[in-house]
Amino acid sequence: MRVATICLALLAALPSLGCSGGKSSGEVELLNVSYDPTRELYRDVNAAFAKQWLAKTGQTIRFNMSHGGSGKQSRAILDGLDADVATLALAYDIDSISRRRPEILPAGWQARLPSNSSPYTSTIVFLVRKGNPKRIRDWGDLARPGVKVITPNPKTSGGARWNFLAAWGHGLRSGGSEAAARDFVTRLYRNVPVLDTGARGSTTTFAERGIGDVLIAWENEAFLAQRELGAGKFEMVTPSLSILAEPPVALLEGNAKRRGTVQLAEAYLRFLYTPEAQELIARHYYRPRDPAVAARHAATFPKVAMLQIDKDFGGWGAAQKKYFDDGGIFDSIYSGNRRR
């Protein structure tokens, strides 16, 4: 019968769909699971690395990139996404892979590559409207009545956690006590009219919907927003104190071993630290680690005092628990706000 023939043909076609064309010996595949704003960065880095790898080994690399919210990506890997390398927004998200599935990523992963396994860093800055009509200079101004602050929800957005911690750090330094810090962030979040679920959402709310006077953003996002969403419409304000954001990278050994890509993936991650990749990194507005490259781009990245997650907040595990988990300080801001 015809229907049966078609069914059989479909069944026969299924497996070949699954592996989408056999690999030729000269071609290797690499899956990099990353977070949202690195799309443009890795497009350039991949091209540069592929060229180098081809010259050295004669193999062509087929890159598969997956971008999404950092936490979501980490869960995908936990649930079995066969990634060779993870390049996420927070050490916390890579840590949870290693904690739950050490067979993929053994503990101590962050010491395996230089600089905390973070080939690039970023920090938190303010984006304000042209002319800075609300005269926003530093953190203190964000808690002023009448100022509308746009920042995503730290419960769903990795980037927003950096924002919160930087604000907390300011409250702690200027007020001198936890109570003062709590009071400061409470006043700040009372000025937040919209809690988007991700950093890009907040950028859209601020830049396209015209809501709010100041956007707390990653430095690279702020540069990008200025360039893509209207030059001259916004100004960047660097606060007196910020936080060192270290988006880490890791080789997922378990997956790479099974896929036979260990060497390639290792070389790929090491490549990120070379001057060539560091230059690309700086051009995409991430702060490079390489001192020579950093010196070349010193005009782009102003010097700013930075808090560090490990030194000032006791690492991501502790910070997550204290500030962002259910019943943590961030939640108490809202249950307190509500009673008012």
Partner: protein
């Protein structure tokens, strides 16, 4: 297969006595199709849903209460079910109107209007959310006129209702339409020739006949609204205790790698939804029995 059914159709009619599974019908293949139905429902619906409850069972009772019945979760359920109900009600009224116009009247471009009704199904919901937010934000086409009047749509629960009305539009229209078409104008004419006024015809003849279908549409719109995430998240503003929906709380739990907590909230939503749908089904059965009388 045509030969088989012919033979069966020719066999004597089944006895009236009703037995649940041994019942003989004129249609062949009951055992096979029923078995397939059960297996399919299990695979597609029951197994995933039971996974929700099994994962929830990983929590102790006190943990379950702490996560799923916290003050914040309770207010999120209220927002989710409240806005979904409001949106389903709006769709119930206007969907009925649209169905009526589509069935009873002919006008140029009717096909296009009819196709427009289905469009919300085809559009990725996040796109709908972004479009609606752009429209109703303070600097949007509609927002710039509404906000000065004190009507804030974007980033409030009202915005959620607007998004859900958009998402749920096709349900009532498409479930009422065929029933309305079935009734046909001749029944209305019969009612009128028997002396019923316009209003009486609508109230006593048409509405009872379409009530079960209308309830189906309402229930589907409601259920869709309760589960909607993509569009709502963009327009809601997501302020805790005000415009935070329950599905967002689930995502929040997942963000903390708390699968059990996420499924706990999901389980509560499932139970409420199931009870609502059951209630609507009962209402439907009641309406059907009345309309037959």
């Amino acid at each position: 297969m045509t030969a088989g059914s012919l033979v069966l159709a020719a066999s004597p009619p089944p006895r009236a006595r009703r037995r649940w599974f041994g019942e003989r019908t004129a249609l062949p293949g009951f055992g096979l199709t029923f078995g397939f139905t059960l297996a399919w429902l299990c695979l597609i619906v029951l197994i995933p849903l039971s996974a929700v409850f099994i994962r929830t069972a990983g929590l102790g009772w006190s943990e379950f209460v702490a996560v799923a019945l916290s003050e914040r979760a309770l207010s999120a359920y209220k927002v989710s079910f409240g806005t979904a109900f409001a949106a389903a009600a709006v769709n119930g009224i206007f969907g009925l109107l649209i169905a009526w116009v589509l069935v009873r009247h002919d006008f140029p471009g009717k096909r296009i209007v009819s196709a427009l009704v289905d469009l919300p199904f085809a559009l990725p919901t996040a796109v709908a959310g972004i479009a609606l937010t752009a429209l109703y934000a303070e600097n949007g086409w509609l927002g710039q006129y509404l906000v000065p009047l004190g009507i804030h749509v974007a980033f409030t629960p009202l915005g959620i209702v607007v998004a859900l009305v958009f998402i749920g539009l096709p349900f009532v229209v498409r479930s009422v339409e065929p029933v309305l078409a079935d009734i046909g104008p001749e029944i209305e004419e019969a009612a009128q020739s028997l002396g019923a006024g316009r209003l009486q015809t609508v109230r006593l003849v048409i509405l009872p006949a379409i009530l079960p279908a209308w309830l189906t549409g309402f229930a589907m719109a409601l259920a869709r609204g309760v589960g909607e995430y993509g569009s709502v998240i963009v327009i809601a503003g997501n302020m805790p205790f005000r415009s935070e929906i329950a599905p967002l709380l689930i995502v929040t739990q997942l963000e903390q790698y708390d699968y059990a907590g996420a499924t706990a909230i999901a389980a509560v939503m499932l139970v409420i939804s199931f009870m609502l749908l059951l209630l609507i089904n009962l209402l439907q059965a009641w309406a059907r029995s009345r309309s037959i009388d």
